[in-house]
Symmetry: C2
Subunit: 210 residues, 2 copies
C-alpha cells in the first residue's frame, strides 16, 4: 500500500469515524461496500470518502467498492490502533473512572496498565483489569514499567506538575482532560487535548447561530 507523506491531521481525525462504521458493517456481516453506500450511511459525499481513503493508497476497486475487512484493518494499522502501547491514567475521580471502565483501550492502540490517585479510599481498588496505585509510587512504577502514555484526569492545578514529573520519567504522550494546555513548547512530547469546556462553548455558538 502506497502511503502519501504529509497526510493532514483533519484526514487522520476522520479515520476513527470510518472505523466505527466499518466495525458495524463487519458485525452485520457486510463484506463489501461502495463509496456511494458508505457516503449515504455516514452523511459524507462519495468523493470526500474516495479522497480521504486515497490518501493511503488504493483501497477501493472500480465496480467492486471497498472490502470491509481489508479497509478496516488498513485503517487500524494506519492509526496505530492495532498496537498496545502502555498507558496509565492519573486521577480516579468520576472522569478517570468513566475512562478506565468504559474505554476500549485494546482496540484503540493502548493497554491500560495502572491508575493513580492520592485518595486513600481509592488506592488498592480495582480499575477494570488493573489496580489503583498511590500517586507517590508514580516514579518507581514508571521506571519499572515504562508507560509511554498518560491520561490526565485531574484538575488544572495538578496537571502541570504531574505532566512535568511524567515527562521526567520518560512519558512522551498525553491524553489531556485537564482544563489547561500542557507541554506546548516540547517538540518530542505529544498531546491530544480533550477540553470539554471548549467543546461546550462551541455548542453554545452553534445554538446561538441556529
Amino acid at each position: 500500500m502506497a502511503k502519501k507523506s504529509n497526510i493532514s491531521i483533519s484526514v487522520i481525525r476522520r479515520l476513527p469515524r470510518y472505523l466505527r462504521y466499518l466495525n458495524d458493517l463487519d458485525k452485520q456481516g457486510v463484506t463489501r461496500i461502495s463509496s456511494g453506500e458508505l457516503s449515504s450511511l455516514m452523511g459524507l459525499t462519495a468523493s470526500q470518502i474516495r479522497q480521504d481513503l486515497n490518501c493511503f493508497g488504493e483501497f477501493g476497486q472500480q465496480g467492486y467498492g471497498y472490502n470491509v475487512e481489508l479497509l478496516k484493518n488498513a485503517i487500524l494499522s494506519i492509526l496505530g490502533a492495532d498496537r498496545a502501547e502502555k498507558l496509565i491514567i492519573i486521577g480516579y475521580g468520576n472522569l478517570g473512572k468513566a475512562i478506565a471502565r468504559n474505554m476500549d483501550f485494546e482496540n484503540k492502540g493502548f493497554e491500560l496498565i495502572a491508575v493513580f490517585d492520592s485518595d486513600p479510599s481509592k488506592i488498592g481498588t480495582n480499575a477494570k483489569n488493573c489496580k489503583v496505585l498511590n500517586i507517590s509510587e508514580l516514579e518507581n512504577f514508571c521506571h519499572a514499567n515504562k508507560p509511554v502514555a498518560a491520561a490526565l484526569c485531574i484538575p488544572m492545578e495538578a496537571a502541570l506538575p504531574i505532566a512535568k514529573q511524567l515527562i521526567d520519567c520518560g512519558v512522551r504522550c498525553f491524553w489531556n482532560f485537564s482544563h489547561c494546555d500542557i507541554a506546548m513548547d516540547m517538540k518530542d512530547v505529544l498531546v491530544e487535548n480533550v477540553h470539554l469546556g471548549d467543546s461546550l462553548m462551541t455548542l453554545a455558538y452553534k445554538l446561538k447561530n441556529l
Copy 2:
C-alpha cells in the same frame, strides 16, 4: 463591532482557548496584552492571533494591544457563552457525574436544570444544583420546562432512541458523548460530538508517527 459572516468553525473552535488565557490574565490583574505577548503565551504566531480576532471586527489597537476585559467579553458574546440556555444531562454514570459536578455550565452558555437516569439508587439524589430524575419523567419534564439542549452520557444503544424522544419533545441541541452519530440527517438539530475513542485513536496515530 462589525461581524463577518461565514466565520469558519475552526476559528470558532479556537475562541474558547483564547478565552481560557484571557480569563487567566484577567485573574492575574493584567488589563492589556499585545498580540506578540499573547502569541508567546499560547504558542501561536502573532499573525494567526490577529487573523483570528479580526474575523469579528477590530479588537486590537496599534501600539496598545488588546484590552483583556473587552476582548474576553466580546468572545463570550460571540460564542453565546454569556447566555443561560436550559440543558439537561441524560445518564448519571461516571461520565454524567463528572460533567454534572465539574463543568462550569454558567460560564459556557448553559444552565443545568436536571439530570436523568433509570437507576433507582441514583434517582432523587442531588447532582450539583439540581435533582436526578427518573428517565420515565423525561417527556413531562420537557413539556413543562422546555430544555433546549441535552448532554447524552449514555451508551450507544440507548442514545438513538433517547435522542429521537428528545427531538420530539423540542430539544434541538445535543452534546453527544455516546459512541455513535445521532441526528445526522436533521438540518435543524445541532450536534457537538465528543467521541473519546476517536480522540484516543488520534493519539495512537501521533505516537506511531513520533
